[in-house]
């Protein structure tokens, strides 16, 4: 397995510096930049101010909680449907149009559709669920397809029950692919949650809600919007890092075909 070298770390740091450089150049090329594109210095200063407030952590916590709930729902559904699809080619064919629809349905439509059914507060959870479901489902199916056929046959000969085979053999062997799906969709799901909070207009604690409120209460000051967005970026970066290390830990010693 490839290890992170000092050079990799340096290159990553260089990438971060580059982002800040682009940010500074863009911001300084715009007059009255706090109204349109605040520079990193005022944004970071505002971010620290926000980080001193418990409300900020409540917003992050609530957005994360709703993301997690939506994600958990999609994960369980994708796992069940993915395994059934792996076991039955006919089921996979029957269900494929549904997933094509889920993948192509405009995201805003999902919010409006569920707004009345589950309320503005819960619509973002459903949105995360619906958008992440096809991504994780495909990872599960791919994982199943990549299980060594000899292992599959041997497990059947062994005479163990289907449930036992699923939990003891299939899921562990599929896990690298499942984790790849989780890794690529969890950060995305947090972004979806924030966007859905904005579209649904909900005013419950959440990063999307507060970003939208900042824009509405003082549209001529973009600094708090950038600061809350920066907090969102940090959260996503931390999540990605956690998932990366989890993925590394799980993939260790699991043979992938």
């Amino acid at each position: 397995m490839k290890t992170t070298s000092f050079k990799d770390l340096l290159l990553t740091l260089l990438g971060i510096v580059l982002i800040f450089l682009i940010w500074i150049i863009t911001s300084s090329s715009i007059s009255n930049n706090s109204m349109i594109f605040p520079n990193p210095f005022v944004t970071i200063k505002e971010t620290f101010k926000l980080l001193e407030k418990s409300f900020t952590y409540r917003c992050v916590g609530q957005s994360l909680l709703r993301t997690f709930l939506g994600f958990l729902g999609s994960f369980i559904a994708a796992l069940v449907l993915g395994i059934v699809s792996g076991l039955s080619e006919s089921f996979k064919k029957v269900i494929s149009p549904l997933f094509s629809v889920l993948k192509s349905i405009p995201t805003a439509t999902i919010v409006f559709l569920f707004l009345v059914l589950v309320g503005a507060k819960n619509a973002p959870i459903i949105m995360v669920e619906v958008i992440c479901l096809p991504i994780i489902y495909e990872s599960v199916v791919r994982g199943f397809e990549n299980i060594d056929i000899d292992v599959l046959n041997a497990s059947k000969v062994d005479g163990s029950s289907l449930l036992r085979r699923i939990f003891r053999i299939y899921i562990p062997l599929m896990s690298p692919y499942i984790f790849a799906g989780v890794a690529s969709s969890f950060s995305l799901s947090f972004k979806i949650e924030i966007m859905a909070e904005v579209i649904s207009g909900t005013t419950v604690d959440g990063l999307g809600s507060i970003i939208s409120a900042c824009q509405k209460s003082d549209p001529t000051n973009m600094v708090p919007i950038f600061a809350y967005s920066l907090i969102g970026i940090i959260v996503i970066a931390v999540l990605s890092l956690v998932i990366y290390f989890l993925e590394k830990a799980v993939n260790k010693n699991i043979p992938v075909k």
Partner: protein, 312 residues
């Protein structure tokens, strides 16, 4: 600093949503748009049954038989249209009577609105547009440039330019509290030059023989008993108009961003705008006693007048 942040982060994330200041807790379920109408509910900051929504169009979707809300606050025209289309609600009262103003950016040298000036209007074919045309007719049509929302109008006023086209702007049709925030933005290029040029509410009264704009109203679900709740609301609004500092007393202990998220307006701006000649247009008038004003207003929107069957 590091420790403080760490402790705050841990406690807040673990007890997310648990710490709240206690205010009025009612059993009446209410949904209201953020902004001016929500300010009327300043005593309901932690009332779980009082919800706000930042997208008024979304609120409209709750005016149906399966809606969980006993009270829906929405703009009068949309609410009455929904009732005409079968929504099981009745209009109870109006709580905001217009918060529209025309502000000058300071670009117009003669400081008099004329057809050779550039005027920015938000919400094409919506309330601001229809009100503007009702008051001024079509004399400024060649001068009008449209933007989508009040937030865009605020950016135009702050910069003196149309945010969409980049052209210079002389006048902007705008609503409170966005007007207050913009006029007081010291970073805005128009700071110190921009000013209120016209009060739409007064112009409307002059044109209609002292009638009022009936902007946001309270709609009550058929069968719901909200009389006591709405009596308290009326009293709260009257108290606020008499003592604008009341809003800071009620919301002072709540984090400014939390108030901003729930109400769409920070408490200090609520107080300042209400204290400034009731800039949010708050009030309380029972629909039953205000049918003439309601009908005059909804006629502008091409809606047929209503009778007592529509009100409670």
């Amino acid at each position: 600093m590091k420790n403080k942040l760490l402790v705050l982060a841990t406690i807040s994330l673990l007890s997310t949503g648990c710490s709240r200041v206690e205010f009025i807790e009612s059993t009446v379920k209410v949904i209201c748009p953020t902004g001016a109408p929500a300010v009327a509910f300043y005593n309901h900051a932690s009332d779980e049954n009082f919800e706000t929504n930042g997208a008024p169009a979304n609120i409209l979707s709750f005016l149906n038989a399966s809606s969980p809300y006993d009270v829906v606050v929405i703009d009068t025209v949309s609410g009455l249209k929904a009732i005409k289309n079968g929504a099981p609600y009745k209009m109870h009262s109006t709580i905001t009577f217009g918060n529209f103003f025309i502000a000058s950016t300071g670009n117009d040298e003669d400081e008099t609105m004329s057809s050779d000036d550039k005027i920015v209007l938000f919400g094409k074919n919506q309330t601001p547009d229809l009100l503007f045309h009702y008051i001024y007719g079509n004399q400024y049509d060649d001068a009008i440039e449209y933007v989508n929302a009040v937030t865009d109008a605020a950016s135009c006023l702050a910069s003196g330019k149309n945010v969409l086209t980049g052209s210079d702007v002389d006048y902007v049709f705008i609503a409170q509290p966005a007007l207050f925030s913009t006029l007081n933005n010291t970073n805005a290029p128009t700071y110190g030059k921009s000013a209120i040029a016209a009060n739409i509410q007064e112009l409307y009264k002059n044109k209609t023989n002292n009638k009022s704009i009936v902007q946001a109203s309270v709609f009550v679900k058929n069968g719901s008993n909200c009389d006591e709740y709405l009596e308290i609301l009326k009293s709260d609004i009257e108290t606020l108009l008499d003592f604008p500092t009341e809003v800071e007393t009620a919301l002072g202990s709540v984090d400014e961003d939390e108030v901003k998220a729930k109400y769409g307006v920070p408490a200090r701006i609520m107080k300042a705008v209400v204290a400034n000649n009731n800039g949010l247009g708050l009030g309380f008038k029972k629909a039953r006693d205000n049918l003439a004003d309601i009908n005059n207003f909804i006629n502008i929107f091409g809606l047929e007048g209503i009778n007592e069957d529509y009100v409670i």
